[in-house]
């Protein structure tokens, strides 16, 4: 089988452009990237399907017809990418409604863990065993050392509660 060079190159360019857009934070650009990459891969399916031929209808000469299976797969893939686009659009609109932009934010809890690490505090789950058998249990440790969390937490949690 000799693959069509132009299709392969076009598919490669589309996928490359899609990957570039996928690396962005904005959901709209990610959506454009997903669509480009998806279409690029659909082209690659055409490359995989071999030479062109007649319409694959039952009863036609099996040698003359095009391979119908990749076409069926591409059709499925197109339907799925339609649904993906619709969902991503809705998600990006919702994100725009809530935040005023559609950029994906960092993980809040991760940021807390990172800040505690930078401030050289113990992790929140840490239980000071020396203080463990006194009345305070783990809580005293938490009150004195939880500064890092408190700041960030009041920020994120109060937003959270607004929504609720």
């Amino acid at each position: 089988m000799t693959p069509t060079l132009i299709l392969a190159i076009a598919g490669g360019v589309l996928v490359a452009a899609g990957v570039y857009l996928l690396l962005e934070r904005s959901l709209m650009r990610i959506l454009a990237g997903v669509m480009l990459a998806g279409n690029g891969i659909n082209l690659l399916f055409l490359v995989a399907s071999g030479p062109a031929g007649e319409a694959p209808i039952v009863g036609a000469d099996p040698e003359a017809i095009a391979d119908p299976l990749p076409q069926a797969m591409v059709l499925t893939a197109i339907v799925i990418s339609l649904a993906t686009s619709a969902f991503l659009l809705a998600m990006s609109y919702r994100s725009f409604q809530l935040e005023g932009h559609d950029e994906v934010a960092d993980d809040v809890e991760d940021a807390i863990v990172r800040r505690r690490a930078e401030a050289d505090l113990s992790s929140e789950a840490y239980v000071d065993t020396a203080a463990g058998d006194t009345e305070s249990g783990g809580r005293a440790v938490d009150d004195s050392e939880a500064g890092g969390r408190m700041e960030t937490e009041t920020g994120s949690r109060s937003e959270d509660e607004d929504v609720r």
Partner: protein, 502 residues
Amino acid sequence: MDLSNLVPVPVLLPLLAAGVTLILARHPAWQRVVSGTTLAVVAALALVLCVAADAHGPIVLWVGAWPDGLGIVLVADRLSSLMVLVSSVVTAIVVIFPSRRDIADGADGAPVSVFHPTFLVLTAGVSNAFLAGDLFNLFVGFEILLFSSYVLIMLGATRERVRAGSTYVVVSVLSSTLFLLALSIVYGATGTVSFAQLPERLAALDPGLQLVIQLLLLVVFGIKAAVFPLQAWLPDSYPTAPASVTAVFAGLLTKVGVFALIRLQTLLFPESPLTDLLLVVAILTMLLGILGALAQGEIKRLLSFTLVSHIGYMLLGIALGTGAGLAGAIFYIVHHILVQTALFIVVGLIERVGGSTSLARLGGLAAVPLLAVLYLVPALNLGGIPPLSGFLGKVALMDAALATESPLALVAVVAGVATSLLTLIAVVRVWQRAFWQERGDDDDRVHSLRVLPRIWVVAASALVGITVLLTVIAGPLSDFASRASVDIREGAYQAAVEEAMP
């Protein structure tokens, strides 16, 4: 009746019930009855399939009986029927939990009536992925379950859920795109996507191309299974969803990825186990996952990290490429689906009773003894305390690893033991803080299980009971797992598919 006609039922029945529950949108109680019954029926059928596959070998159905193997083939061998059985048992129990309020889980105005239809479609997708007899149908199964999971993880679309859900959706879409790419390469190179024909045709390819295909599929399934270094999306996105959703996601969705990895490594590339690469990945997954868990102050996130780390155990079993390793991995998957779901459900109860899942805010839950037992049993099971099934699964895996006598496998065993101990530390910390820490003076809530609907307590107890039962039936189950691994490794799959071809 021909048993092979039962094979598509675990896919069709939930889809049908999804339609019915959509009609019943205004009657939440009926929705619950319909989805509970459906999944229970699917579980019963899966048990029949399991027994039949064990007795007669893989059960194959060529859907539509198209000539010359043109149609879609569904295969229930020992492994996939066991997976369908466990997944439908778990979903049947979890689906009876959420009332309207819990589904919304703080998100006012959430369209809670879509929960049951979406959940049922999710289970249909999971069953389809397990039963699929070709790569493309596996892809379709993945898409079905992913799309339902997008909806479920963002139910109500609060700020927090949209943020976490965005990461999840983008990562999943990316992995689907890669899967499609892999499919086009596979089809272009071999002219087929059928699991039965691929092994032979793949083996005839250029070794370099074989490796490309294998690594591409490893990445795709690695993302789904949350294997290091492709695991970062999981602890971020799972914890924000409603408790029952998180429970099913944590229990099932990553295991579908692990299941696909087993199919890939045993069925498609039996000659290329990539043992060293996968062992290193397994070791890193175990250790980094559990170290992440130790840094967390929020129970759901902590459990999400333990989930990642325990995927490493299953990967260890797959990496070894031996029958014993595979049997250990299969046993561990069953154990882990049940235990992880039970733990997340119990955390849902903790959240309702204690009002939070943050370790800094919880305390004094030991006043509720039943809740304490419900937490402690699966937690110790996860940590691998004998004689519970977690211990047995880990021993089986380590036994298999030591039998290969490779130095890297020995390192993996050491890492496995360390992970087991660190898991114990992580879950015992939760135990210590949430259950025994004194509560703050301002906290005058009365902790009692009475705030929960009784059916919750019953269902959670049932789930925990099943995890304990797993210990009792560990012998037959691990025999079954060994037979399943023999099945896979000795070509029973291909033979059965060829034989059933119309």
